[in-house]
C-alpha cells in the first residue's frame, strides 16, 4: 500500500492524544504521515515542511482544511419502512459517512429488535457486508421493548452489547427496571433511557404553549421529563448501574443532571439531540410534521440551557436522533404522523453551519461532544481482533458551500428541515 502524507492540515495529533489547538491563534499547518486507517497512535506529525516525503508517496494537500477525528453518533435509528434490512443498513452507512460519522449506536426498532442472539448475529453480518460505517447495536432492555421481561443480558453482552435501550419506549414498571439495573450493573452494562413519565405524556404531541393552543394539540409537560429523570437517576444510583440519559430537552432536565453529576454520581452521562439545540416549538408553525419529535421541540430558553450544558460538560454528547420516516408517513396529519428527523447525512455540516460558524460552540466542544465522549461511552470493540476500534480522521473544508437536496439524502428519506438550506463543509472520509 502506498504511504499517504497529509500536508498543511490544521490540527495536531500526538500519539493517541488529541492536542486541541484548533481555532487558537498561532496554529501552524502540519504534515502528517498517515500509515493506515485507523490513524490514531500510528501517525507521525511534524510542522509543515519539516517531514521528508519520499517520492512516490500519495500526498493530500489539506491547505485550508481542518483535520479532526470522525464523529460517533450515540443515537440513530436505521430502519426505513418498506426497505429491506440490508438496504436500510447500506443506506444509513452511506448517510453517516457523508455526514462525517464513522460509527453509530443503532437503536432497536421493530425490524432490528436486538433482544436475542440471532438478531445480533445477523445484524453484525449484514453490517460487515453492507455498511460503510461502524454500527453497534444497543441491546433491548426488555423483550420486544414491551417493558415487562428482561432480555438475556449475559447473551447480549457476550455478543459485544455494552448499552441497553428500549428506544423511545419508557417503562412505567419501575420494579422491573430496578431489578434489571441491579442485574446488568454486575455485567458493567450501561442503560440508555430518556426522562419520561408515560402517563403524563400519553396522547400529547408537542410542547405546551401558544402554538399547541393555536393548533389544538395536547402539550407534553416538561415536568414529565423532570420526574422521569429524577426517577432513573435515583434507580441508577441505588443499583450502581451506569446510566446514559437520552435526548434531554428541557432546561430543568439539564439542571437535574448537573446536580447529580456535582453530587459525585459515577457512571452518569447525558446526550442532547442536535434538533433540540436548533429548533423550538414555534417551528411547528402550521402542523409541519418535520418538526414532530419525541421529546418535543421546546422554548428558546431550553435550547440555550441545553447548549450551555454541552459547553460546561453537563451534557456529554450531541447526537443525531436520526429517525428515517417515509414521505407518505410525514404527509399525514400531525397527530398520525410518526415522530423524528433524519440528521446523519448532514450531521457535521449542520453542526458547523448552525453552531460552530455562528460562534455558539468551538471545535473543541464539537470534538468532545461528537467524537471522544460518544466513542468512550459506546466503547466500540472489535470482537474478532480483540482490540478497541479507534476513530478515523477526516478532513473538513469549511469553505465548501452546498444546498441540501433530496438527491443528497443517502439515508433514503427526506424528513429534515434542512432541505433547500445552504450548509457549509466539505468532508473527506475516509482519508485513504
Amino acid at each position: 500500500m502506498t504511504d499517504t502524507y497529509i500536508t498543511n492540515a490544521i490540527w495536531a495529533l500526538n500519539g493517541a492524544e488529541l492536542d486541541l489547538r484548533m481555532g487558537q491563534n498561532g496554529e501552524s499547518p502540519l504534515t502528517l504521515f498517515v500509515d493506515d486507517i485507523p490513524l490514531t497512535g500510528v501517525c507521525e506529525v511534524a510542522p509543515a515542511g519539516q517531514m521528508p516525503i519520499p517520492s512516490g508517496a500519495r500526498v493530500i494537500n489539506a491547505e485550508g482544511k481542518l483535520l479532526l477525528p470522525a464523529l460517533f453518533d450515540l443515537h440513530a435509528k436505521i430502519e426505513i419502512a418498506g426497505c429491506s434490512k440490508r438496504e436500510s443498513i447500506y443506506r444509513n452507512g452511506q448517510a453517516a459517512i457523508q455526514g462525517g460519522v464513522w460509527g453509530m449506536l443503532v437503536m432497536p426498532t421493530p425490524g432490528f429488535c436486538f433482544d436475542n442472539a440471532y438478531t445480533l448475529d445477523s445484524f453484525a453480518d449484514a453490517v460487515t457486508q453492507r455498511s460503510a460505517a461502524t454500527m453497534i447495536p444497543a441491546g433491548c432492555i426488555t423483550e420486544g421493548m414491551e417493558g415487562s421481561q428482561q432480555t438475556p443480558y449475559n447473551t447480549l453482552a457476550a455478543r459485544g452489547v455494552s448499552i441497553l435501550c428500549d428506544a423511545e419506549h419508557v417503562t412505567d414498571n419501575l420494579l422491573m427496571l430496578h431489578r434489571a439495573m441491579k442485574y446488568a450493573a454486575e455485567l458493567g452494562l450501561t442503560f440508555a433511557i430518556r426522562g419520561d413519565v408515560p402517563a403524563l405524556t400519553r396522547n400529547t404531541y408537542m410542547h405546551p404553549g401558544s402554538t399547541s393552543y393555536k393548533l389544538g394539540l395536547h402539550g407534553t409537560p416538561a415536568c414529565a421529563e423532570e420526574i422521569g429523570l429524577e426517577t432513573i437517576i435515583r434507580l441508577a444510583a441505588d443499583t450502581g448501574a451506569k446510566l446514559h440519559v437520552q435526548t434531554v430537552s428541557t432546561a430543568a432536565g439539564v439542571n437535574i443532571i448537573r446536580r447529580a453529576k456535582e453530587s459525585g454520581m459515577k457512571g452518569l452521562t447525558a446526550e442532547v439531540a442536535l434538533h433540540h439545540l436548533l429548533y423550538t416549538h414555534e417551528d411547528v408553525a402550521d402542523y409541519d410534521t418535520t418538526f414532530k419529535t419525541v421529546p418535543p421541540l421546546r422554548e428558546q430558553t431550553d435550547c440555550d440551557a441545553l447548549l450551555q450544558g454541552v459547553k460546561d460538560g453537563t451534557i456529554d454528547c450531541i447526537v443525531t436522533d436520526h429517525t428515517p420516516c417515509i414521505p407518505f408517513a410525514k404527509k399525514q396529519d400531525f397527530v398520525s404522523a410518526p415522530q423524528g428527523m433524519v440528521a446523519l447525512d448532514t450531521f457535521l455540516q449542520a453542526i458547523y453551519t448552525q453552531l460552530v460558524k455562528p460562534g455558539k460552540l468551538t471545535w473543541k466542544d464539537v470534538v468532545r461532544a461528537c467524537c471522544t465522549n460518544p466513542a468512550r461511552i459506546a466503547n466500540p470493540y472489535d470482537q474478532e481482533e480483540d482490540t478497541p476500534v479507534v476513530a478515523p480522521l477526516l478532513l473538513f473544508d469549511p469553505n465548501t458551500e452546498f444546498t441540501v437536496t433530496e438527491a443528497m439524502m443517502n439515508c433514503g428519506t427526506t424528513n429534515t428541515p434542512l432541505l433547500g438550506r445552504t450548509l457549509y463543509g466539505g468532508i473527506t472520509l475516509p482519508l485513504c
Binding site: 400519553r202 404553549g209 393552543y213 393548533l215 389544538g216 394539540l217 402542523y287 399525514q332 400531525f334 397527530v335
Partner: protein
C-alpha cells in the same frame, strides 16, 4: 374577495373575506323567508360530507345549506366505509376525488386533517371541526348571531365558559370575534382553561370575575367527556361552580345578557332548564343562522375542479 379554495381556519382569512361572508349571510337568510327556499347558485355542483366524528347539527346544517343552493349532496358514512378497515385519509380522498366532488365538508377527531386533505385535492375543503383546532363555520354563525342581535360585533364583550382546552369552537369563535373588534374572555375549570400567556385572552375561573368583567354575551360550551381519558375536575362540581344555575340566570336576566351555546346542550350541567327558555337565549337563532352562514361559505369558495367555466 379573492377566489379562495378552502376554509380551514379563521386565521387564514383576510378581513375582507370575513366581512364578505358575513354580509352575504344576511342575503342568504332572506331566502328563508321566501316561499321557495332555494336558489340555483350551486346547481350541478357536488357536495360531499365526510364526517369521521358523530355530528347531527353541523352535518345537517351543511346539507340543508347545500340543498338550498341547489347542489347535489352525498353523505359519506364513515362507520360503514373502508375507513374502519384501516384505509388512510389520503387514499379515501383519492377515491372520492375520482367521483369528481367539488366541495368536501370534513370533520375529524385529529387536529389538522382538513389541511392535509385540502393540500391533497382540488375540491374546496371546508373544515367542519378538526380535533381541538378549528370550527370556522361555527365562528361565522356565532359572529353573525351577535351582529344580528346587537347591530355590531365591535365593542361587545363575550365570555366563553367551559372546556376551552378541547374546544375548537372556543378557538375559532374567539378569533373571529376579536378580529371584528369584540373583547373575549375564557372561564372554566382551571385545567381546562389555557394560560393567558399562550392565548392572549383573559382567563377567569369563577363567575364573580365574569360578572365584574361586564360581559354582553355568555357563551357556554359543552363539557366534552368523550375527549377526556382521565378526569380533569371533580365530576359533581360542574353545574354549581361553572354552569348557568337558576340563581345566576336571574342575575343574567337583570343585566340583560345574552346566552349562546354551540350545542348539543347538556341540561343540568352547563345550563339549567329555565335558561333554555330565557328571553335572550340565542341558541335557536344560532341554529337558523348556521344554515345561512354555511350557504354563504359554500357560495364564496372556488373549487379548482373545473376549467374556468
Amino acid at each position: 374577495m379573492n377566489p379562495r379554495k378552502d376554509l380551514i381556519t379563521i386565521d387564514s382569512l383576510s378581513d375582507e373575506d370575513i366581512r364578505t361572508i358575513l354580509d352575504s349571510t344576511s342575503a342568504m337568510k332572506e331566502i328563508f323567508t321566501k316561499s321557495v327556499k332555494k336558489v340555483p347558485a350551486l346547481k350541478g355542483k357536488s357536495v360531499l360530507t365526510l364526517f369521521y366524528e358523530p355530528s347531527t347539527r353541523t352535518r345537517s346544517s351543511f346539507e340543508v345549506a347545500a340543498h338550498r343552493l341547489s347542489a347535489d349532496v352525498t353523505t359519506f358514512t364513515v362507520s360503514t366505509s373502508s375507513v374502519v378497515k384501516g384505509e388512510s385519509v389520503h387514499d379515501t380522498i383519492d377515491t372520492l376525488m375520482s367521483m369528481k366532488m367539488d366541495y368536501i365538508i370534513v370533520r375529524h377527531k385529529n387536529s389538522g386533517i382538513p389541511a392535509v386533505i385540502a393540500r391533497h385535492c382540488k375540491a374546496s375543503v371546508i373544515n367542519a371541526g378538526d380535533g381541538a383546532h378549528a370550527h370556522p363555520s361555527q365562528a361565522f354563525l356565532d359572529a353573525f348571531t351577535i351582529r344580528e342581535k346587537y347591530g355590531d360585533v365591535a365593542g361587545k364583550r363575550v365570555v366563553i365558559i367551559g372546556d376551552i382546552l378541547h374546544s375548537r369552537v372556543a378557538r375559532s369563535t374567539s378569533t373571529i370575534l376579536r378580529r371584528l373588534g369584540a373583547d373575549v374572555a375564557y372561564m372554566g375549570p382551571g385545567p381546562l382553561v389555557p394560560q393567558e400567556q399562550h392565548t392572549g385572552i383573559p382567563r377567569f375561573t369563577d363567575w364573580e370575575q365574569v360578572f365584574r368583567w361586564k360581559p354582553d354575551v355568555i357563551y357556554l360550551l359543552r363539557v366534552q367527556n368523550e375527549r377526556m381519558d382521565t378526569p380533569f375536575f371533580p365530576r359533581g362540581d360542574y353545574h354549581q361552580a361553572f354552569g348557568v344555575t337558576e340563581e345566576r340566570l336571574r342575575r343574567i336576566d337583570d343585566l340583560n345578557l345574552s346566552i349562546m351555546h354551540p350545542g348539543p346542550v347538556n341540561r343540568g350541567v352547563e345550563i339549567c332548564d329555565a335558561a333554555m327558555d330565557y328571553r335572550n337565549c340565542l341558541i335557536n337563532n344560532q341554529v337558523e343562522n348556521g344554515i345561512a352562514a354555511r350557504m354563504s361559505i359554500l357560495y364564496h369558495l372556488t373549487p379548482q375542479t373545473q376549467n374556468n367555466d
